[in-house]
C-alpha cells in the first residue's frame, strides 16, 4: 500500500499519525512543491515580528517523519489521474498511489483592484510571503493592510513590531468581524485605535497609486480617503486550492466535497485541511473552516480512513484564539445571534466581555474578551452538546470550572471511560 500525501501540511502530518495508528507497514510519500519542512502557518506572524526563528517553526520535527517512515519529495503535482491511480509531477515523473490525500490548503484571495499589479503588494499566508515582507518592512515604512480579519490583524501586529506604521482597512464594522460580535468587535477596534493604529472600517481599497517608477505611493479607498503608503498587504481571505481535485473530475463546491471519512467523490482520493469542505458539527452542514485545529483533526481522520479503518471525522467548528493588539480573545462556535438566546456580561472599564449563544439548554458559541482562562471547558461543552441550561449564569460569571457543572455531567467527563477501574479503588 502506497499513501501519497500532496502538501507537507498540518493535515498531512496528522494523516501520517493516523495512517501509522492503523497501518505500520505501508509506504508514505509526502509531495510538496516548495517546503522541505512542515511548519505552522500561524507562526509566520511571529517570524515576521522577529519572535520565532525559522528553526522553531516546525509543527512536527524531522524526527517525527523519520520515526513514521514518511518520505518527503520536493515536486509540484500537476495532476491526479484517478484511472491510472497516478499523479503527474512537474519533473515529468509519475508517482503511483493506492490512496492519495489532497492537503493543498488555501490560496490568498486577491480582489481585482486598479493598480494592484506590480511590486509593493503582498499577501500573508506562507513563510515565503512573510520573507518577502521581511525584506521591505523597515522601521518608519508605512503599510496599509487590507482586511481586518485574523490574517490582517496578525500581519499588522508583526509589521508594527518591526517599526512599520500600519493602517488597516476593513469592510466590516469592526476588526475580526467573522469571529466577533458587535460588542467585542467594538472593544478590540477601540483598543487598536487607542494604540495609534489607523482603522478604516466599512471601507475598502479601490485603487493602488504608483509613481512613474511603478513604486506604490498610496491607496485610495472607496470612501475617497487617500492613504500614503509604500506597502499594501492584501489579507481579505483565503480560497481552497482545489484545482487538482476539480481537474480530476472530483466534486468541488466552495471546497473539495468530502464525506465523514474525508473521502472525495473520486475513489481512493481524500482531502483534508483548508482545501476541504468538512463536516461542521454545530450546523450539521459541510463547510470550509480554514483553521489549524480543523486541518489537524481532518488529517488524522483521513489518515485512518485511508488505511482502511472505519474511523469517522467527529466534525469541526470555527475557533480562534488571537491577541488583537494586546487584548486576548477566544471565539468558539457560532457567532450570529439569529435563533439563539444571547447571554452577555460586559465590564466596560476592564474591557472584559463574555457572550454565549444558547438554544434548548445547549451552548453553540462563546466569545471571551480579555479573560480567556479555561475557555476549553466551554469548547468541550459546545463540542459535546452538553445540557448546561441550568448553569449558564455560573459559567458566565467567572472563570469556567468543572465544579459548577451538574454532578453527572462532571463525572461523565472525568470518568467516562474509567468507572470500572474507579470502582476498584
Amino acid at each position: 500500500m502506497r499513501y501519497v500525501l500532496i502538501g507537507n501540511s498540518i493535515a498531512s502530518a496528522n494523516a501520517v499519525a493516523g495512517i501509522r495508528d492503523v497501518d505500520p507497514e505501508g509506504e508514505i510519500v509526502i509531495v510538496d512543491a516548495e517546503n522541505t519542512f512542515c511548519y505552522s502557518r500561524p507562526l509566520i506572524s511571529y517570524y515576521l515580528a522577529g519572535e520565532v526563528p525559522v528553526e522553531r517553526m516546525a509543527y512536527r520535527p524531522r524526527e517525527f517523519f523519520d520515526l513514521h517512515r514518511a518520505q518527503i519529495v520536493t515536486a509540484k503535482v500537476e495532476a491526479i489521474r484517478p484511472d491510472a491511480r497516478e499523479i503527474d509531477l512537474d519533473s515529468g515523473d509519475r508517482l503511483a498511489y493506492d490512496r492519495v490525500l489532497v492537503s493543498t490548503g488555501g490560496v490568498p484571495f486577491v480582489p481585482p483592484i486598479d493598480g494592484l499589479e506590480g511590486g509593493g503588494v503582498f499577501t500573508f499566508t506562507t513563510l515565503t510571503a512573510a520573507r518577502a515582507l521581511e525584506a521591505v518592512a523597515r522601521p518608519g515604512a508605512k503599510a496599509v493592510v487590507l482586511g481586518g480579519g485574523l490574517i490582517g490583524v496578525k500581519a499588522a501586529h508583526a509589521l508594527i513590531e518591526r517599526g512599520v506604521e500600519v493602517a488597516i482597512v476593513e469592510l466590516g464594522k469592526s476588526l475580526m468581524p467573522l469571529a466577533l460580535d458587535e460588542v467585542s468587535g467594538r472593544i478590540v477596534s477601540e483598543n487598536a485605535r487607542s494604540q495609534d493604529i489607523e482603522l478604516f472600517l466599512e471601507d475598502t481599497v479601490s485603487a493602488v497609486q504608483r509613481n512613474e517608477a511603478g513604486a506604490v505611493v498610496g491607496v485610495e479607498l472607496a470612501s475617497g480617503t487617500h492613504i500614503p503608503c509604500e506597502l499594501l498587504v492584501v489579507a481579505v481571505g483565503v480560497r481552497p486550492n482545489a484545482a487538482l481535485v476539480s481537474e480530476a473530475g472530483g466534486a468541488v463546491e466552495r471546497g473539495v466535497v468530502v464525506d465523514r471519512q474525508m473521502k472525495t467523490s473520486i475513489e481512493n482520493v481524500y482531502a483534508a485541511g483548508d482545501v476541504a469542505q468538512g463536516y461542521n458539527l454545530l450546523t450539521g452542514e459541510n463547510q470550509v473552516i480554514a483553521i489549524l485545529p480543523v486541518a489537524a483533526w481532518q488529517g488524522y481522520a483521513a489518515g485512518r480512513a485511508m488505511a482502511g479503518d472505519d474511523y469517522q471525522y467527529a466534525g469541526g467548528m470555527p475557533m480562534n484564539s488571537v491577541d488583537v493588539f494586546g487584548i486576548p480573545i477566544i471565539s468558539v462556535g457560532l457567532i450570529a445571534a439569529d435563533g439563539f438566546d444571547v447571554y452577555e456580561r460586559l465590564d466596560e472599564d476592564a474591557k472584559v466581555y463574555r457572550r454565549f449563544l444558547v438554544r434548548d439548554g445547549r451552548l453553540y458559541g462563546a466569545i471571551l474578551v480579555n479573560e480567556i482562562d479555561r475557555a476549553g471547558i466551554l469548547t468541550g461543552l459546545i463540542k459535546h452538546g452538553d445540557d448546561v441550561g441550568g448553569i449558564i449564569d455560573k459559567l458566565l460569571d467567572g472563570t469556567p470550572s468543572f465544579a459548577v457543572l451538574p454532578k453527572g455531567l462532571r463525572e461523565g467527563k472525568l470518568f467516562k471511560k474509567v468507572l470500572k477501574e474507579w470502582a476498584a479503588v
Partner: protein
C-alpha cells in the same frame, strides 16, 4: 498509564495540593522560600475548584487523544516516552490555542508579562508519586491506572 484522579467526596478544598505543586515547580523547592519570597512566584499546575459544597482538584488528564498537543502551533506540547503530555517553554509562543481546546481547562497562562507562556502539569517526572497526590491528607487525589 497511571493518572491522578480527583475524588470530590473526600476533598475539603484545603489547597495543599496546589502548594505542593507550586513548591515542586519552584527554584528552591522549600515551601516557605518558594511561596513567600521567590520571584516569579511558582505556579501550581493543579487547581482546587470550589462551588458551594463541591470541591475538587483538577489538573491535566494526559489524554490519549490530547487536543492541546494537536493544536499546538509552536510544537511546544509533546507526548513524552512515559505517556505524559509535557510542555517545552522554549517553543511556546503564548497563542493560547491549548487554553482554547483543553476540555479540562488544565493549561494556564504564566504571569510573566514579557513573555507569557502556557503552564501545565508535567506529571512530576522526577518523582515516583506526584507531589499533589503525596500532599493530599484526605486521599482526595489518587494515582490510579485508568484509560481517560
Amino acid at each position: 498509564m497511571k493518572k491522578v484522579m480527583p475524588r470530590e467526596e473526600y476533598c475539603l478544598g484545603c489547597q495543599l495540593c496546589e502548594i505542593a505543586c507550586a513548591v515542586e515547580h519552584s527554584k528552591s523547592k522549600d515551601v516557605v522560600t518558594a511561596m513567600k519570597y521567590e520571584e516569579p512566584k511558582p505556579l501550581a499546575r493543579t487547581r482546587v475548584e470550589i462551588e458551594g459544597d463541591t470541591m475538587l482538584s483538577l489538573s491535566c488528564r494526559h489524554c490519549d487523544d490530547a487536543p492541546c498537543l494537536t493544536v499546538c502551533m509552536g510544537g511546544a506540547l509533546y507526548r513524552d516516552a512515559d505517556g505524559a503530555v509535557r510542555h517545552n517553554p522554549e517553543r511556546c509562543v503564548g497563542c493560547w490555542m491549548c487554553v482554547m481546546v483543553c476540555p479540562y481547562g488544565a493549561l494556564s497562562r504564566s504571569a510573566d508579562v514579557s513573555k507569557a507562556i502556557a503552564v501545565k502539569c508535567d506529571f512530576c517526572p522526577d518523582r515516583s508519586m506526584p507531589a499533589c497526590v503525596e500532599a493530599c491528607p484526605n486521599g482526595a487525589l489518587v494515582l490510579v491506572e485508568v484509560d481517560v
